[in-house]
């Protein structure tokens, strides 16, 4: 990391300029279609040793215009492209809202053990006792961390966990004879998946205002009154929230929600900031989902792979997905299918086992003290960076912050926006933070607990260098990135005239 940073210019007029012409350190990789050479192929077929017979015409389709290349050319092409990958293994990745931290290699070792990696989901339980024990213990760990009564490991992603939990809540109210509880409240800073999951589930989402980044409790009361307490199913809160703040009034929100007879749902996307410090059940949560791939580390991004276990309080237990992994009285592990009120299966077989093995390895490797340390460092790192950026960037929400914070570039009259800062960060070998969310014009920065002080300092220096550039040479930011194989994309043009198909010149 530091060596990458070391190669980066510290001011706008250093060697960076010469790099612009070469667009990075390698020529631009042509498309595989452009590399095609007629007659080249990846395999040599053995000589024909049977009589030639014509193919039935009806079996022949239109020839597909595929690229013709030897095996080695294909290999180098994709290897070149893979080196362009931007990943947590090569670069700092302070992406707010989705924890992109180091994935300890011991997790990969564990997940690759043949006893986990080579199982067949239909194998007899007696042959997979180790894997079942791991799932059972993971379930217990998550119950302890959440403080809630039972966990289902089936959901395969965070949003899938939300959907599952909302189904569980709906089943609960149907069972109670209150099928009209169809409204789910969420603060206006909620993750986009919250309203999406509600809509998928047939619930109606109603937004609650936030003030200074916190849920406006008066507005919460107002919305409940407006729609009638008897129509409210749940209040979905993310805590710490997307503004990077731990909402200390969540207990009061829980009381308001419980008074309406509804459930408090915790979106657990930001659990890394509170691991072991508090348990969602202690601040009133009735149900939550984990994003184990974020909180307990798994290589992820672009939609997977993940796991979104759901934890629930006593009243919701009967409705969890089935089957449930259990320890039987004789000490063996197996599946409990006998759950008549269950919403049923939400995932083929038993969930995303490979991801859960990694979560288990992470939890076991760190232990209680280690997990507490995760929370401590996530919070310290975010607050350290916020302090280092405070003079040059506007921090609209008052700290202290949890695991992330929101910064707004404010460079008077320079015409420089968040997108320009984000694009310029790429030149420094840094993945840009989330942009323009949860508020307009912002950058949402999550350093995570795994970054070294040197990396945090290099990021702060890059951000402050960019702030200087915004004042002295804003055009340099407007044209960034300068050092990547591809420069500033025409995003507006691409959106207005979508064309994703390559055609020969």
């Amino acid at each position: 990391m530091t060596s990458v940073m070391g190669a980066i210019p510290s001011s706008p007029d250093t060697p960076a300029e010469s790099a612009v012409a070469t667009r990075g350190d390698r020529p631009v990789e042509p498309l595989i279609f452009e590399k095609s050479v007629p007659g080249h192929r990846g395999v040599d077929l053995p000589p024909l040793d049977v009589p030639r017979a014509p193919l039935d015409e009806s079996l022949l389709g239109t020839p597909v215009d595929l690229s013709e290349l030897g095996q080695h050319d294909v290999m180098t092409h994709y290897t070149h492209l893979s080196t362009r990958n931007f990943s947590v293994d090569a670069n700092f990745y302070p992406l707010g809202s989705c924890t992109m931290k180091h994935n300890p290699r011991i997790n990969e070792w564990a997940a690759a053990l043949p006893g986990f990696a080579r199982l067949h989901p239909l194998q007899d339980d007696a042959q997979i006792q180790g894997a079942l024990r791991l799932l059972y213990e993971t379930r217990c760990f998550l119950q302890e961390i959440s403080g809630l009564d039972e966990v289902s490991l089936q959901p395969a992603a965070g949003a899938h966990g939300e959907y599952t939990a909302l189904k569980v809540i709906r089943a609960y109210y149907r069972h109670k004879g209150q099928p009209d509880r169809r409204i789910v409240l969420a603060p206006d800073t909620a993750h986009g998946t919250n309203p999406a999951s509600c809509t998928m589930c047939g619930a109606e989402i109603v937004m609650v205002k936030t003030s200074d980044g916190y849920t406006d409790l008066d507005d919460l009361r107002r919305r409940i009154d407006e729609h009638g307490p008897e129509s409210i199913a749940a209040f979905m809160i993310t805590n710490p929230n997307t503004a990077g703040l731990f909402d200390g009034h969540v207990g009061e929100a829980a009381e308001i929600v419980h008074e309406a007879g509804a459930q408090l749902y915790l979106d657990g996307a930001n659990m890394n900031a509170i691991l072991g410090k508090t348990r969602p059940a202690e601040f009133g949560a009735d149900v939550m989902h984990f994003n184990t791939h974020k909180t307990f580390s798994t290589p992820h991004g672009c939609g997977g792979p993940g796991a979104g276990p759901v934890a629930v309080a006593e009243q919701l237990r009967p409705f969890l997905p089935r089957p449930q992994v259990v320890r039987r009285t004789d000490g063996t592990f197996g599946w409990d299918h006998d759950r008549p009120q269950s919403i049923g299966k939400v995932r083929s077989f038993f969930g995303q086992i490979g991801v859960l093995v990694r979560a288990y390895a992470y939890i076991r490797a760190l232990g209680c003290d280690g997990l507490l340390d995760v929370a401590r460092k996530a919070v310290i790192n975010a607050n350290y960076l916020a302090a280092r950026l405070r003079d040059r960037y506007h921090l609209p929400f008052e700290g202290p912050y949890a695991h992330e914070f929101v910064a707004v570039p404010k460079f008077e009259d320079s015409g420089v926006h968040n997108v320009d800062v984000a694009k310029r960060l790429l030149d420094f070998g840094i993945h840009p933070p989330t942009m323009s969310w949860p508020i307009a014009h912002c950058l949402m920065i999550e350093p995570t607990e795994t970054e070294s002080l040197a990396t945090l300092d290099a990021f702060a220096e890059a951000m402050n260098t960019i702030a200087d550039e915004a004042v002295h040479s804003p055009e340099r930011l407007k044209e960034a990135p300068h050092h990547l194989p591809i420069g500033r994309m025409d995003e507006v043009g691409a959106n207005r005239h979508l064309d994703v198909r390559w055609r020969p010149e």
Partner: protein, 128 residues
């Protein structure tokens, strides 16, 4: 064409112009600037009935997607197809060729509670 000084304005940056029982609605220059280049416009189809305060469509830029709300209810009598085909009109001429929708309303009274031009302009001044 609506005259900005005669329009009413919402907190969520729509302008509304009342002519008889027809309300024309669009987004303000301030909103267009905040969104940056608009790339996509989708409105509810003509003849739909809408309730006051309901979303009537959405506007998308590379930065964000925003619901467009109408404080008045009624029937949608026209959608600006040119703006749908050419979303940049919302940036270049939000009060003119970039209008979004026309609603026939039986009850224009919600307009009374909205901001006038001076108040809106003071609260949300257009930069530059």
């Amino acid at each position: 064409m609506p005259i900005p000084s005669e329009c009413r304005y919402t907190e969520t940056h729509e302008w509304l112009d009342l002519d008889g029982d027809i309300v024309t609605l669009g987004i303000t220059q301030y909103a267009a600037d905040e969104l940056t280049d608009v790339t996509y416009v989708e409105m509810k189809p003509e003849k739909s009935t809408i309730l006051p305060g309901e979303p009537i469509g959405e506007v998308e830029s590379v930065k964000t997607t925003s619901d467009i709300m109408s404080p008045v209810g009624g029937e949608i009598v026209a959608v600006n197809q040119r703006a749908v085909e050419e979303p940049s009109l919302l940036n270049s001429d939000p009060f003119g060729e970039g209008w979004l929708i026309k609603i026939r309303t039986a009850d224009p009274s919600p307009l009374d509670g909205l901001m006038d031009h001076e108040t809106y302009d003071k609260r949300f001044p257009v930069a530059g």
